[in-house]
């Protein structure tokens, strides 16, 4: 079943992309992408390098202005710099957005202040505990391993309890153990009624978490499916076909 058609099943859309287009000069990075996600839905977007996945995520985050089309959060068009919408979105990237010379606690308190959170004395330790990093609270981020930094980045992304979480290649640079730990943390997102979009190369991990999947090639969604209608082998076949078909 196409993803768009499935929207009604999940109630009113929380996050909606309506014919999103983004050009960089003559290059079209995102080409008329549309989907609707309800509360608690997890969409995994796969695609090769240069498919426009990160541009799509930045459009959804309000960090990039669409050339045409629009993003709607709970039915309200998202504009670049929309403060209210941004407060509802958490972003986890392969880059941590953290400052290496600040400690884990200082980083979280900084982002908490940006979000105008008032209960940081209790919230920050709680979030650190959620990702198992209490003992690293006062360690500078520069001294932490890549996997630990990524767990801290999860705490940063979820610090303000966002209803929408956007994940951009979160497994990049992680070893198998760190990747498994991150997977465990991300699977917990599905319990909280959060709407999640993840772009990744990792078919296995992306499929494991997804309710719906899409394959993006040269900016366009060339394949969309419900998770229930797809197994790992089927996804791999579809992925290969989609990528080779557009190569």
């Amino acid at each position: 079943m196409p993803a768009t058609a499935a929207a009604s099943r999940a109630g009113p859309p929380v996050l909606e992309a309506a014919s999103l287009v983004r050009d960089y000069g003559p290059v079209r990075a995102v080409n008329h992408v549309s989907f609707r996600l309800g509360a608690g839905e997890f969409l995994s977007v796969f695609g090769p390098n240069g498919a426009g996945k990160t541009s799509l995520l930045r459009l959804l985050a309000g960090g990039l202005r669409p050339t045409s089309g629009e993003v709607r959060v709970s039915g309200i068009p998202l504009t670049v710099g929309d403060r209210a919408a941004r407060a509802r979105i958490g972003i986890l990237s392969h880059l941590s957005f953290l400052y290496g010379r600040l400690t884990a606690r200082e980083n979280l308190r900084f982002y908490g202040r940006l979000h105008g959170l008032g209960d940081l004395d209790s919230r920050v330790p709680d979030r650190l505990a959620d990702v198992g990093l209490e003992r690293y609270a006062d360690s500078p981020v520069d001294t932490l391993s890549r996997g630990t930094v990524q767990r801290l980045a999860v705490a940063r992304a979820l610090l303000h309890d966002p209803g929408i979480v956007l994940l951009d290649e979160p497994y990049t640079g992680l070893d198998a153990y760190a990747g498994a730990m991150l997977q465990e943390l991300l699977s917990a997102l599905k319990d909280g009624g959060r709407t999640v979009v993840m772009v990744t190369h990792n078919l296995g991990r992306g499929l494991e978490l997804a309710d719906r999947v899409a394959i993006q090639v040269r900016g366009s969604f060339v394949f969309e499916a419900e998770r229930a209608d797809l197994d790992a082998a089927g996804l791999e076949r579809s992925y290969r076909r989609a990528v080779e078909g557009r190569a």
Binding site: G62, R86, L95, Y99, Y111, G116
Partner: protein, 226 residues
């Protein structure tokens, strides 16, 4: 408004904390400031030239060069681990990010001015006049105008491969009013001239600063938005 100010304060606090931890910008700016003063000390024959007449010009050029060195790196710390994306996708308005950077740069340049005044007093024994409050006011207003322009352009240059090289080329023509009116006002203060002789330059500096801050606040979003 309170939330806005808290967000701005959070960024300023973070910037200053990082500066205290790394000392990167302050050390470079301070070293250049002192070095320029030392070089002038040896480059100018103080037996032929009345140094006091050059005091305002020397000090302002030193501040501008020293300040420029640090201001060019305003957004460098945000590029590490993509932190700039964390800022730009946070609920902080873009003008708030700009104003926070202006405030933290203002504090750094003010520290450099203290170093410059001390260095020139040490090497040349300059007389800074008898109105320290007026001097602080002129330096404060001119510095605000300087950092308002420089912060905006450092955001522009940070997005180019030639960032550090490009910044002075872009910025020095725009800083001509700060140089002209800053040097005139401080020169007259150093000469202990009446306040009335300083007012004109101070008002023009203030006007420049208001225009620079307003333009920076409005234009910053077009610089960082893609």
């Amino acid at each position: 408004m309170t939330v806005y100010l808290r967000q701005v304060a959070a960024i300023v606090r973070k910037d200053l904390l990082l500066e205290v931890r790394t000392g990167e910008r302050l050390a470079a700016m301070g070293a250049l400031t002192v070095l320029v003063a030392v070089l002038f000390h040896f480059a100018i024959d103080q037996g032929l030239v009345r140094m006091q007449l050059l005091a305002a010009g020397l000090i302002w050029m030193t501040i501008l060069f020293g300040g420029m060195l640090g201001m060019g790196r305003t957004f460098e710390m945000e590029r590490e681990q993509g932190a700039i994306q964390g800022l730009l996708t946070s609920p902080v308005p873009l003008d708030g990010i700009y104003l926070a950077k202006v405030v933290s740069n203002f504090i750094l340049v003010t520290l450099i001015e203290v170093v410059a005044l001390a260095a020139y007093w040490l090497f040349f024994g300059f007389n800074y006049g008898n109105d320290p409050l007026l001097l602080a006011g002129v330096l404060g207003v001119a510095t605000l105008g300087f950092v308002a322009v420089t912060t905006l352009f450092s955001a522009i240059s940070a997005q180019t491969n030639m960032g550090q090289t490009l910044l002075p080329i872009l910025i020095f023509p725009l800083l001509v009013p700060v140089v002209i009116f800053g040097v005139t006002a401080t020169g007259r203060i150093f000469a202990s001239r009446p306040v009335q002789e300083v007012e004109g330059s101070l008002y023009l500096l203030a006007a420049f600063t208001v225009v620079a801050l307003t333009a920076g606040t409005i234009l910053f979003r077009y610089v960082v938005e893609e």
